[in-house]
Amino acid sequence: MAVSDRMTTIDLFKAVQGSDIAIAFGNAPLVFGIAAQLFHISGIVLILTPTLLVALRIAGTGLVDYSAAQLERKSRVYVATGLLFVVFSGLFMLIPSATLYQPNPAFQLKLILLPVALAFHYGFLARIAKEEFSQKWLAKIIALFMALLWFAVGMAGRAIGFLAA
């Protein structure tokens, strides 16, 4: 494919914004936009709170009657539900205004932080929460870092509105 034929990121976002589904989302009544925001916030809480509880338990505090591994297993369904909420509500907000989001540095940062947070969450959390994970100091550092990473995703998301204004 010739260089000039390649689709750039902005072309992709323009195509998304011009799609029928984007137009339908954009013309949806305001109540859908409000509902999307509420689902987005609920999703953030559903991800952050269980993750924090596991991170706190790994650090030796919080719900100490349960092991970190038990809490991590219990947290999975809430985090997965939260991710579904944030992804679908996020797409509902993003698609009709995709070209506004694309150049926003906070959005770009969020797009970098989100996969990193997901990789840490699904790559490390279950492993470091296990009783037999011997390097407890490393587990505490990773757990703290992961919690901070999720908060950074949230802060970057919140910053989108301020940088776009």
Binding site: L30, I34, Q37, L38, I41, I44, V45, L48, T49, L52, L53, L56, T61, G62, L63, V64, D65, Y66, K74, F151, G154, M155, R158, A159, F162
Partner: protein, 166 residues
């Protein structure tokens, strides 16, 4: 001095002006207000689910409260302090519609419910340690708490939609 005058005075204060005109501090305060919900709202929902018998039923209520209370208090402190700062930054336009006063009213209801729960069950060792079967009034307190704090979050998110000046 009525409520509008109070909010106007807060808005015109040095703190209100500094916050409203700050490029970074205002978004940071708003971000913390939102994300501290993970500690405040998220943990209170977990406790409410426990009171209703839905979440972690094998953990006695007293143990759960003891283990989570410092984090909930920390979360509510962050949410409350940043909320006050946002009141300084936004001033009387918060009172332009019924949404914000209603939010304050529901917070008051939720706080009264929490105080009642503490008064009724705070020293009831049989209930807190799980020796006594879950009582209906504790479940009702959990349901009221769940409904009221959820309403507070919804109303908070509705504020900008009901006032075009934000």
């Amino acid at each position: 001095m009525n409520l509008h005058d109070l909010f106007q005075a807060m808005y015109e204060s040095c703190l209100g002006t500094a916050l409203a005109e700050s490029l970074y501090v205002y978004p940071l305060v708003e971000g913390i207000h939102l994300l501290s919900l993970a500690f405040s709202f998220g943990l209170i929902v977990l406790v409410d689910f426990r009171l209703l018998g839905i979440a972690l039923p094998s953990l006695p209520v007293g143990e759960m409260l003891k283990q989570l209370r410092p984090w909930m208090i920390g979360g509510f402190t962050a949410t409350f302090v940043t909320g006050i700062l946002l009141m300084f930054a936004l001033g009387p336009k918060l009172l332009a519609t019924f949404i914000f006063p209603l939010k304050l009213l529901v917070i008051l209801l939720a706080a009264l419910n929490a105080i009642w729960f503490e008064w009724k069950f705070g020293r009831d060792q049989d209930y807190l340690t799980g020796r006594k079967d879950p009582v209906v009034s504790a479940k009702i307190a959990g349901a009221i708490s769940l409904a009221s704090w959820s309403t507070v979050v919804v109303l908070g998110r509705l504020i900008p939609y009901f006032d075009g000046s934000f």
